[in-house]
């Protein structure tokens, strides 16, 4: 009998918060071996197997159905999966890992406080500099989709997988779209969020994989888990 596979982030704060969250359901997740070994054990509810994964790979594993349940941010799910609501219904918002995906510009752009202003500045920039206004982000799909529905054009997305706030100073981008929780990093880098520049409010979320093979035993385990947490069981087909 195949156990219900639960994908958790392989390290960091997100992992610890997720472990604490499951303890509310009397489910104990313990890392086995050394801290560096990616293995763990679940006790308190039979039939669950732990799979430790990079948070950014959990959406893909959910989509492929290689894990039944997974904990990751809504930002990553929505960025990486086209029909995420069909593929991986959310089971529970977990109340940690809060992050807003926002559009920010240099504070010195006194003429740009809204997306409409950004559109003005982008047209001006394109005409003056011979290339489009570059927006650094790792959330290519979410940002492109948001800006086009909000009527912003004349931009191009440039990839930035980290230290995104620094791209403007380094002149590899003119504006950024990134996740922020307190906004402190933005302020420290003299950046300012546009007043209507919030793309997504995200938090850590438990997702279920419709594409996984759900045996009767897996379903029963899942129902017990939901019951202990007072959660409605989402439809899995």
């Amino acid at each position: 009998m195949t156990a219900l596979k639960l994908g958790l982030p392989s390290k960091g704060r997100l992992q610890q918060d997720a472990i604490n969250w499951f303890s509310k359901a009397d489910i104990t997740v313990a890392r086995t071996g050394s801290d560096r070994e990616y293995a763990g054990q679940v006790t308190g509810l039979d039939g669950i197997e732990l799979v430790l994964l990079s948070a950014s790979e959990i959406p893909r594993e959910l989509a492929a159905g290689r894990i039944h349940l997974g904990v990751t941010g809504e930002d990553l799910i929505q960025e990486k999966l086209a029909d995420w609501a069909q593929i991986t219904p959310a089971v529970a918002h977990m109340g940690f890992g809060f992050a807003d995906l926002i559009v920010a510009v240099p504070d010195s752009w006194a003429d740009v406080t809204t997306l409409r202003d950004l559109d003005d500045a982008a047209a001006q920039f394109h005409a003056n500099h011979g290339h489009r206004l570059r927006i650094a982000t790792k959330y290519h799909n979410l940002v492109r989709g948001f800006l086009s529905t909000q009527g912003v054009a004349d931009f191009e997305i440039v990839d930035s997988q980290g230290a995104t706030e620094g791209t403007i100073k380094n002149q590899t981008a003119e504006a950024i779209a990134d996740i922020t929780s307190s906004g402190a990093t933005l302020t420290a880098n003299h950046l300012r969020i546009l007043t209507d520049g919030e793309i997504l409010k995200s938090q850590a979320t438990l997702f279920a994989a419709r594409n996984a093979h759900w045996s009767d035993a897996n379903r029963a385990t899942f129902a017990t888990l939901c019951g202990r947490l007072d959660l409605p069981v989402p439809a899995l087909t």
């Binding site: 086209a82 006194a110 003429d111 740009v112 409409r116 492109r144 086009s148 009527g151 003119e174």
Partner: protein, 358 residues
């Protein structure tokens, strides 16, 4: 059926339809060519934001073609100036990134014609339009809704009306997004005051004094936009005329009359060309062609277009489309090869034929 038919009877029919369309174009004097699937990514932006967002950039300076216009132009440019009046036809897959949640196919066939040459442009407009329409008719699709527009006419209207060059350039660029264009026309009539902390004679110096400057967009540009929005307004009567122009919709034959009612004799040159095109339409397709629908704000969102544009759609899906792109050759290769092209999507055409047959 917008997906790919790659085997079986659907594939057979697709091949037969494509070959018969291409054969028709070759008979009409178009030379069959095979443009490469990958081209220099530097040219992708010419199609504007919509095409840029849809194009797969391969990350090595190459882009996977999302339409044929630029690849055909580049192939034509290789031949040099002595190519006479070249007409080309082609067929092959194009590739489109789809946004999350978008189930449109990422790969589909396009088949089309391009015509390079500066002689009798209005006649060439009508020739391409008529060739595409005739190809649809020959395939069995008799009744297909058509929409037309004219980007050059919009430019002529902007040139004739009272406004600053800055505003004119901005509105030209906004043509591709009718909603934003209308919103900006309204917005540009009202000044936006410079913030108190920066107001006064030298905004740029105040920006340097009060804020941390970083990045490639300069304080001079920030100051320029602040000053322009506070002082450079779109006159109210201009705005009114522009909005009325953009709302023009009706039979193409009535457009000159409607435009003259708004602008008098101020854009006679552009209208003379428009009327030349109307006589060509009438001559080639008969007087009922003057009933072809026209919309002043219609531009197909392919930003290399700068003249006549057209589109044939069925049940919300574009079956065929095309337009004039005279300036593309100047932007890509500093040449001057005015051109117009049109394309058909055989898979959509096939599903439209199936639906009509039901």
């Amino acid at each position: 059926m917008s997906g790919l038919a790659r085997r079986g009877s659907d594939y057979r029919r697709l091949v037969e339809l494509s070959e018969s369309l291409l054969g028709g174009f070759e008979q009409a004097g178009y030379e069959r060519i095979d443009p490469p699937m990958l081209h220099d990514a530097a040219h992708v932006g010419l199609g504007g934001q919509t095409l840029l967002d849809l194009t797969y950039l391969m990350g090595n300076g190459l882009a996977l073609r999302s339409d044929f216009t630029v690849p055909v132009y580049l192939l034509h440019a290789e031949r040099g100036r002595d190519a006479g009046t070249p007409r080309y036809c082609y067929s092959g897959p194009v590739f489109r990134r789809s946004a999350p949640g978008d189930d449109r196919p990422t790969e589909y066939l396009q088949l089309g014609i391009e015509y390079f040459g500066s002689l009798r442009r209005e006649a060439a407009d009508v020739r391409i339009f008529a060739n595409i329409l005739a190809a649809l008719h020959r395939s069995g699709l008799k009744d297909v809704p058509v929409m037309t527009g004219d980007v050059a006419l919009f430019h002529a209207v902007l040139d004739a009306l009272d406004m600053s060059d800055r505003i004119r350039a901005r509105l030209r660029g906004l043509f591709w997004r009718p909603e934003q264009l209308r919103a900006q026309i309204t917005r540009m009539q009202t000044p936006i005051a410079v913030p108190d902390t920066l107001a006064g004679p030298d905004i740029e110096a105040k920006l340097h004094d009060t804020l941390t400057i970083q990045g490639k967009r300069s304080p001079a540009e920030v100051a320029e936009l602040l000053t322009a929005r506070a002082n450079d307004m779109l006159p109210a009567n201009t705005a009114q005329t522009l909005l009325a122009y953009l709302d023009i919709t009706g039979p193409i034959g009535q457009v000159p009359e409607l435009v003259r009612a708004l602008l008098g004799d101020r854009i006679d040159d552009a209208l003379a060309r428009f009327e030349d095109r109307l006589s060509e339409l009438c001559h080639r397709l008969g007087p009922e062609a003057l009933d072809t629908p026209f919309r002043a704000d219609f531009g197909r969102r392919h930003e290399y277009y700068d003249g006549f544009v057209f589109e044939m759609a069925h049940a919300g899906q574009v079956i065929a489309a095309g337009g004039r792109y005279d300036r593309l050759s100047q932007q890509v290769g500093a040449a001057d090869w005015p051109a117009i092209g049109g394309m058909i999507r055989p898979q959509i055409l096939l599903s439209a034929l199936d639906e009509v047959a039901k």
